[in-house]
């Protein structure tokens, strides 16, 4: 169970999770993947979520990402309860599209779209005009220092560039929260730290809360706050918050 740390910001949390449970199966074969998770992330904050394999990290990410429906508990985004034993008449797909950004272990960019269209895609899916979506995409690409690759095909980008484009895509709809699933796993130390630096900068710039699920020992010391997840429960601790580079 989490315990509140001193000096935690008092603004409305970007995401607030309490008593979140997830059970797979039923009867004797039922497995409780989450057994009452509590978690709070403030706008502009980047936290680490760490834990051994099978501890429930991915299940928590799927529940927070409205991909899997929890069994019980409460999830609030920017003060609005979106899950409270049910999705509160919200369409999980629309929730993912409008209020949650995703960054994956691999960039998973759409290979048949160019860089700009990859970033603009969530906006286009949300019904924004082509012109507006592309304008926003170019702004994000500029913020992530990949503007010069705006017209490039995905296959022409380096791994680091692809990951930056993926971050830009996650930020496109200005979601209050981004879920990053091991975003530095395939990268070397230098590039991994660069990605974390970018995530921190973007979190500050756009006041987005970012939850980074990671095993990566290189980046764990960079988080100011960490959540350990073990046996379906979270334990909060202060991180080192070490400066980059």
């Amino acid at each position: 169970m989490s315990a509140a740390l001193p000096n935690q910001a008092t603004t409305t949390p970007a995401i607030e999770v309490s008593g979140l449970r997830k059970r797979y199966g039923a009867g004797d074969t039922a497995v409780d993947a989450l057994k009452g998770v509590d978690l709070t992330v403030q706008p502009g904050e980047v936290i680490g979520l760490i834990g051994p394999s099978g501890s429930g990290k991915s299940t928590l990410l799927k529940c927070l990402g409205a991909v899997t429906e929890p069994t019980a508990g409460r999830i609030a985004l920017s003060g609005e309860t979106v899950y409270d034993g049910g999705w509160r008449n919200l369409d999980p797909r629309a929730l993912r599209r409008d209020r949650i950004g995703f960054v994956f272990q691999a960039p998973y960019l759409i290979p048949f779209l160019d860089v700009t269209d990859n970033v603009a895609l969530p906006l286009l899916l949300a019904g924004r005009s082509n012109r507006g979506a592309r304008q926003r995409a170019r702004e994000l690409l500029a913020a992530l220092d990949v503007e010069h690759r705006a017209q490039a095909a995905v296959a022409q980008l380096s791994g680091g560039e692809q990951q930056r484009v993926a971050i830009a895509r996650a930020l496109a709809n200005q979601p209050p929260i981004i879920l990053a699933d091991e975003p530095t796993a395939p990268l070397d130390s230098e590039r991994a730290l660069a990605v974390v630096r970018i995530l921190n900068r973007m979190a500050q710039q756009y006041q987005t809360a970012i939850i980074v699920v990671t095993h990566d020992e290189k980046i764990i010391p960079t988080f100011k706050r960490l959540y350990h997840i073990r046996d379906g429960r979270t334990y909060e601790e202060a991180g080192e918050g070490r400066e980059f580079g």
Partner: protein, 397 residues
């Protein structure tokens, strides 16, 4: 919203182009099969139209002269000319056989005509009509014969004096027109050995070779060596008369069968080429099923290759209809490419078919709709698979 399908096709245009090419060749074969059927029907109609006849008078109880054998005495036409409503009547014979030019054999339908009468080819593309009573011929251009060429039919050589076109039999063999007398001889004349053998038989028969009636055996033999039979009489109706009415008069008074143009079309299309049409129809159905299976397999395979992207699309909020639309549009795009290739190749290779291939715009339009429907149906399996993709698969664990 950008076209995801369009971008995907542009991104992997080579794969689509080659797949579309393969599908297009299949569609080209399908369109050609339809064209072959249309060509057969059109050949039949051209055969009737170019003969210049309003009625075909043939042996009673036959579907002659094209669908069944028919034999009439060659003086029947005189009686027909005396009937009210008959403006012109002329004998014709039809015989499918091999004609030889030099070392080359060509399968042709030899038509015996009376020059200047119904049955004569109506349009020439070169040369002139037959003017002499013997050993001149007018040939369909598809025989490959040239003006002035010498063509051997049975025991005689004929000079090609004119060329016509679109004059083929119901089975697609090009026609060669020769004078009626020559045609009768070619059709009915026995070879020399058979004539000698027949003469000997007559002379050896005491009932035919009677000492009391000198010359009887010789007369009998001569009568067997020539033929006075034709296959049909082509009749033109006088202005103001109805073909049905005149045909009924001929049936009633002359104890012959008379067919009007619609009846003859019915015989040619519904009876003579009915089996071929059914054969083609079955083949078309098989091709449609094979095309559907191929498109389905291709689209399904392409979709399997994009499952990760589909999961990401669903994760970032793409609606099911967006994903289904992408796959459907790709299937239709493939169908469009295939149809364009198919129509092009069918048009290009149509002239090389030995029989006339008629590619009608209506058939092309129907083919296009069929291809689109088949592609849409074929995409359902891939769409079903894509819609069952769990967006969670984009997230690890």
């Amino acid at each position: 919203m950008i076209s995801l399908a369009g971008r995907d096709i542009l991104h992997s245009w080579g794969k689509y182009a080659f797949t579309g090419l393969g599908l297009g060749l299949l569609i080209g074969v399908t369109l050609s099969m339809a064209g072959i059927y249309r060509g057969m029907v059109d050949d039949g109609k051209a055969l009737l139209a170019n003969s210049g006849a309003d009625l075909w008078v043939v042996q009673r109880d036959t579907l002659g002269p094209y669908a069944e054998p028919s034999s009439l005495r060659d003086d029947v036409y005189r009686g027909l000319l005396g009937l009210p409503g008959v403006a012109r009547a002329a004998n014709v014979t039809y015989l499918t056989m091999q004609a030889r030019q030099g070392e080359r054999d060509v399968r042709v339908m030899v038509v015996g005509i009376q020059p200047g009468e119904p049955g004569e080819p109506r349009y020439l593309i070169a040369g002139r009509q037959i003017e002499r009573t013997h050993y001149e011929a007018v040939a369909d251009a598809s025989t490959g014969f040239q003006l002035g060429a010498r063509v051997r039919i049975r025991r005689h050589d004929y000079t090609v004096v004119g060329l016509t076109r679109r004059m083929v039999s119901a089975s697609g063999d090009p026609m060669v027109f020769i004078p009626l007398r020559d045609a009768q001889e070619a059709q009915f004349l026995k070879d020399n050995d058979a004539i000698v053998n027949e003469r000997a038989r007559v002379l050896a028969n005491p009932a035919l070779n009677r000492p009391g009636i000198p010359g009887l055996a010789e007369t009998l033999s001569r009568s067997q060596e020539t033929s006075r039979m034709v296959n049909a009489v082509l009749v033109q109706i006088a202005p103001g008369w109805a073909a049905d009415e005149v045909a009924e008069t001929i049936r009633r008074w002359k104890r012959l069968q008379a067919y009007t143009v619609p009846q003859m079309e019915e015989i040619l299309i519904a009876k003579l080429i009915a089996t071929s049409a059914r054969q083609i129809a079955v083949f078309l159905m098989i091709l449609a099923v094979v095309s559907a299976a191929i498109v389905s397999f291709i689209i399904y395979t392409m979709t399997l290759g994009k499952l990760r992207e589909i999961a990401v699309l669903k994760l970032i909020g793409a609606r099911n209809r967006t994903i289904a639309g992408m796959i459907l549009q790709e299937a239709l795009g493939l169908g469009l490419i295939g149809f364009l290739v198919g129509k092009t190749v069918a048009t290009l290779w149509a002239p090389y078919f030995p029989k006339y291939v008629l590619l009608e715009p209506g058939d092309a339009a129907r083919g296009f709709v069929a291809v689109m429907v088949i592609c849409a149906l074929a995409s359902t399996l891939a769409i079903r698979t894509a819609l069952r993709v769990d967006p969670a698969t984009a997230i690890g664990g």
